[in-house]
Symmetry: C2
Subunit: 218 residues, 2 copies
């Protein structure tokens, strides 16, 4: 599979724009945990993910984290290059959650395409609106939902992403996704275990009763 | 002052686009508290505010509110017409905080301009990024900041908007801005009053010591 098949508006570009884009690309592979944006990295470019998984999160002053969205194969990471849109005035850190392969589009090349092509600029609008919608959904969950509901929703989402009910994940990592403290996550997981919905073991959370978690998250 | 002077990319439109836009406009005035978006209203159009003030907020299932951004004279309300961008998948309610005058641009006309003009679509990108940045900032405040810091920041912002330290605002309204409960706001305001930073009276909060509130909010 090539860049052309991954870039959703490829067919709407002019031939010279297609050439310009292809010539500018760098294909890259990074290991899990690599920070791709934030922590002093430059605005190096937009990343079109081929395989793998990225996590965007923000830090509190005390170093707590909360995940605001995640990206998968086929997604374009616009916020990896916030400089392409002047009004993006917030800092996110973007980190590989798994080993990840991507094409890097230089920020300047993408900006020029946005200036020339309504297909590119409107696609960018849609991308930003998608991320905005995800952030709104996280924000509403964080503000209005109790920890047990949010944890149930998170475990079900992980099971969906990983395609298994046996999740290799630490309580610390879950806390960093949910903007919570490890102790709170541990306590809630133990409640779930006492109720027979999950089984806890070292570095692992196994979902035993999906339906009851489903019922809990709403 | 005319629409032309308020619409920031007027000069970047083609003459036929300018004509089309002008022909489609409706000028409207609404009273304070009018709901312009949400609660079953249609996706009627984008609003360019001439005078007044709008508030965008979300509801919890229990009916609590939190303000996510505000708009003033010269601002274009994109989220008054979420249908123009398919990927906007969240509900905000938009309400006039003051008597407000605006031009309404029909959604279809704006969409056509976005499809034709990179100036319009990139301007829309900047608009969305601005709102996104505001929401991120609110979210970070809500997640990581204590109530007294958030309340101090809110009172200072109100004083700036209103141009006075004597704010006509109820504790209920403040709670609805901050996503909190009235009782919590009242308790915190009383602490501020005991410390000599504000004076409370019926429907009114008077800021006595701006510098101490400034010091508190960070």
């Amino acid at each position: 599979m090539s860049f052309q098949t991954y870039f959703p508006i490829w067919g709407q570009l002019q031939p010279h724009q297609q050439r310009q884009l292809l010539d500018s690309l760098a294909f890259q592979a990074v290991k899990r945990d690599t920070v791709l944006r934030g922590g002093g990295t430059d605005c190096a470019g937009l990343l079109l993910i081929r395989t793998g998984q990225l996590r965007a999160f923000v830090y509190s002053e005390e170093g707590r984290e909360i995940t605001i969205f995640r990206l998968f194969g086929g997604d374009l990471c616009l916020f990896c290059a916030p400089c392409v849109i002047r009004s993006i005035q917030f800092d996110v850190t973007i980190q590989a959650e798994k080993d990840t392969e991507f094409w890097r589009i230089p920020a300047g090349v993408y900006q020029q395409l946005m200036a020339e092509s309504t297909a590119v600029s409107n696609y960018t609008n849609e991308l930003m609106a998608s991320r905005f919608s995800e952030v709104m959904s996280r924000m509403e969950q964080f503000m209005w939902r109790s920890m047990d509901k949010r944890l149930a929703a998170f475990l079900l989402q992980e099971a969906l992403i990983e395609g298994t009910c046996e999740l290799r994940i630490t309580h610390e990592t879950i806390a960093n996704h949910l903007g919570s403290h490890r102790e709170v996550v541990t306590r809630t997981l133990r409640d779930f275990q006492s109720a027979g919905m999950v089984k806890l073991s070292r570095g692992r959370v196994t979902i035993l009763e999906k339906e009851r978690l489903e019922a809990m998250r709403t």
